[in-house]
């Protein structure tokens, strides 16, 4: 199972890295396959059957939003229908107009479902589309799923009766053909049952997967398939629609498998580690159920000592030159897990012995369930406390050195005045003392983080500022 998670994470990572190529590529592939399928199954306008033209149209579709792609494909279909007969094109245009005017006004982003539905029907995978739509889209996806069935059925009717529809010369024949097509569509019970079933499946899957129950997505997929089976059985009994469940059962199971694969990639959580948390603020009580995501542990994760070189470098960033034994004790148990790949080289402790690393990795696995992040957070807070303590010591040292420098400067200036013996000794020594104190005290009071302090008050302000920054950083972690 871990291997599967790793493969999934790699695929997701690959998609994230190259999505700017993969998305247009997928769009191009989908448009090309759909155009090719239209040309093969309809193909009455020979000019459109040219492969180069198909590639060009697919390329243009790549640059368009999905709703526009749907419009382009509808236009190609209408051109093929027009080449066959005007009445087929007229009825087709009426269907597409209703679809675009009524439905696409609300959900143009669901056009992909409408496009995929006829293709899936061709591959006998049309049971998978309502499951996927219910899992990945909202309840409004029921409409394009049903409309996809209607459009596919209309094209099937035209293709099956192409000989009858071709070349009607009289108006009477034309009207007869229109009536024929309308009758075939309106009185096609099987089509309405399938469209209704697909729409109902989307609604069932959507509402079940939104429930706050464990394995909601899996239950929703299974319930979707069950809904399809039950409606088909009911329709066979009451509407005389041949369900042919025996033929379709295999494809339904394949569709369920596809839905499970989608769940694995999109919503993969570990229900064994659900945490129920309760807390409250002034306005509300919160009852929170937290379900952790499942992800494969990074293969290059190594166990290192808390006070490794890298850790000490981090401490140095916070203004701590060296760590005393007392601070180590304050910081708690000395093992923490660090992703050495981020630093470009394995930590020395990890390289020292494989056994130690394995032990640490095992303890990491055990600790993961008990809240490793809390432990790391506690250690970081302890580190920050040590840092604050160190800062306070530095400030005290700075203050002491400032006082010392003032005394030394007074003595030096007095000696110089004695040699020259020309100025007023007391005034000169006072002025010189002030200047020397200012000049000498500054570097002594400058701390490691770059804050310059002159006197005790400013030292305190600087420490406060540092502490607020340190606190912020600690909160972030």
């Amino acid at each position: 199972m871990t291997t599967l998670y790793e493969i999934r994470d790699r695929i997701v990572d690959l998609y994230r890295r190259f999505d700017y190529i993969l998305r247009p590529l997928a769009k191009f592939a989908m448009a090309f396959v759909l155009l090719r399928e239209i040309n093969v199954s309809l193909g009455w306008m020979e000019r459109l059957n040219n492969t180069l033209l198909t590639v060009i149209i697919a390329l243009v579709c790549t640059l368009m939003p999905m709703s526009m792609v749907a419009a382009v494909l509808a236009l190609v279909i209408l051109l093929h229908l027009y080449a066959l007969s005007m009445e087929a094109a007229a009825v087709g245009a009426a269907i597409f107009l209703i679809v675009f005017l009524v439905f696409f006004r609300f959900a143009p982003h669901n056009a992909v479902i409408l496009l995929l539905m006829p293709l899936a029907c061709k591959m006998d995978l049309h049971y998978a589309i309502p499951l996927a739509a219910g899992l990945l889209f909202n309840v409004g996806a029921a409409v394009p799923v049903a409309l996809g069935v209607v459009i596919k059925e209309y094209l099937q009717v035209v293709a099956d009766n192409s000989a009858r529809l071709r070349g009607s010369e009289s108006v009477e024949q034309l009207l007869k053909n229109i009536r024929f097509l309308c009758d075939k569509m309106v009185h096609n019970r099987a089509m309405w049952v399938v469209a209704g079933t697909m729409a109902a499946t989307v609604v069932v899957v959507y509402f079940i997967r939104k429930l706050a129950v464990a394995h909601a997505w899996t239950i929703a997929s299974a319930a979707g398939i069950l809904t399809e089976i039950l409606i088909f059985i009911y329709a066979e009994k009451h509407f005389d629609v041949p369900a042919a469940l025996g033929d379709h059962l295999v494809w339904m199971l394949v569709s369920l498998l596809i839905a499970l694969i989608i769940t694995f990639f999109v919503f993969n959580v570990d229900f064994a580690r659900i945490e129920n948390i309760q807390f409250a603020d002034d306005d509300y009580y919160y009852y929170v159920k937290a379900v952790p995501r499942v992800s494969a542990s990074a293969p290059d994760r190594n166990a290192t000592d808390f006070y490794s070189e890298a850790a000490e470098r981090d401490l140095f960033d916070y203004g701590i030159d060296e760590v005393t034994e007392e601070e180590k004790e304050l910081a708690g148990t000395p093992t923490v897990f660090r992703d050495s790949s981020a630093e470009g080289q394995p930590a020395p402790e990890a390289a020292a012995g494989e056994d130690a690393a394995e032990e640490d990795a095992a303890s990491f696995g055990a600790a993961a369930g008990a809240g490793i992040f809390d432990r790391i957070g506690n250690r970081f807070r302890a580190m920050m406390d040590a840092y604050k303590q160190k800062g306070a010591e530095k400030a005290a040292e700075a203050e002491a050195s400032a006082e010392e420098a003032a005394e030394t400067a007074g003595e030096t200036v007095t000696a110089e005045e004695t040699i020259t013996a020309e100025a007023d000794i007391e005034d000169a020594s006072e002025e010189a003392a002030e200047e020397t104190v200012a000049a000498d005290a500054e570097p002594a009071a400058e701390d490691d983080t770059g804050f310059v302090v002159e006197d005790a008050e400013e030292t305190a302000q600087a420490i406060e500022a540092e502490e607020s920054l340190g606190k912020k950083t600690g909160d972030e972690v």
Binding site: L97, I98, V102, R105, I178, D317, E435, F451, V452, K472
Partner: protein, 148 residues
């Protein structure tokens, strides 16, 4: 040291600006009722056009009977019946439009509010950063002047 809160907020802002902000700006330019009303008007036009298509197909399908009714002066019955259908269809379509676009307006408003809150957070962060930098630089400058 990178400020992770700031990076998260900036990423969120960038994603929002890339994907949603243009659409939300259009919505945000309206009062709630005006926005929903304008969408209902568009729905009435689109719905009427779609209904006209259906009625056209019906007319062609029943062309013979339609012509006969025209001569019998019973065409008004048909028109009245279809007017009733039209009213029911448009009422339903407008109701759906009302609920969908009211929900969209509310979600756009909440996104805009969140976006502004993130912007304010960024402004505060930069203010704090400038303040700390200024405090760190001021004594140094004073010290240099005095030494000179």
């Amino acid at each position: 040291m990178l400020n992770q809160d700031r990076i998260r907020t900036m990423t969120r802002l960038a994603i929002y600006e890339e994907e949603q902000s243009l659409r939300d700006e259009k919505v945000g330019g309206y009062f709630g009722n005006d926005y929903v009303f304008s969408q209902i008007m568009i729905s009435v036009i689109a719905g009427t056009a779609a209904f006209a298509v259906v009625f056209g197909v019906y007319c062609v399908y029943h062309l013979d009977a339609f012509v006969l009714r025209l001569f019998d002066n019973t065409i008004l019955e048909v028109i009245r019946r279809w007017a009733k259908y039209y009213a029911i269809f448009i009422a339903g379509y407008c109701a759906v439009t009302f609920f969908i676009y009211r929900a969209r307006f509310r979600s756009a408003q909440s996104r805009i509010k969140k976006y502004r809150r993130d912007l304010e957070f960024m402004a505060e962060e930069y203010e704090l950063y400038d303040k700390v930098n200024a405090e760190a630089e001021t004594p140094e400058a004073e010290g240099t002047e005095e030494t000179a």
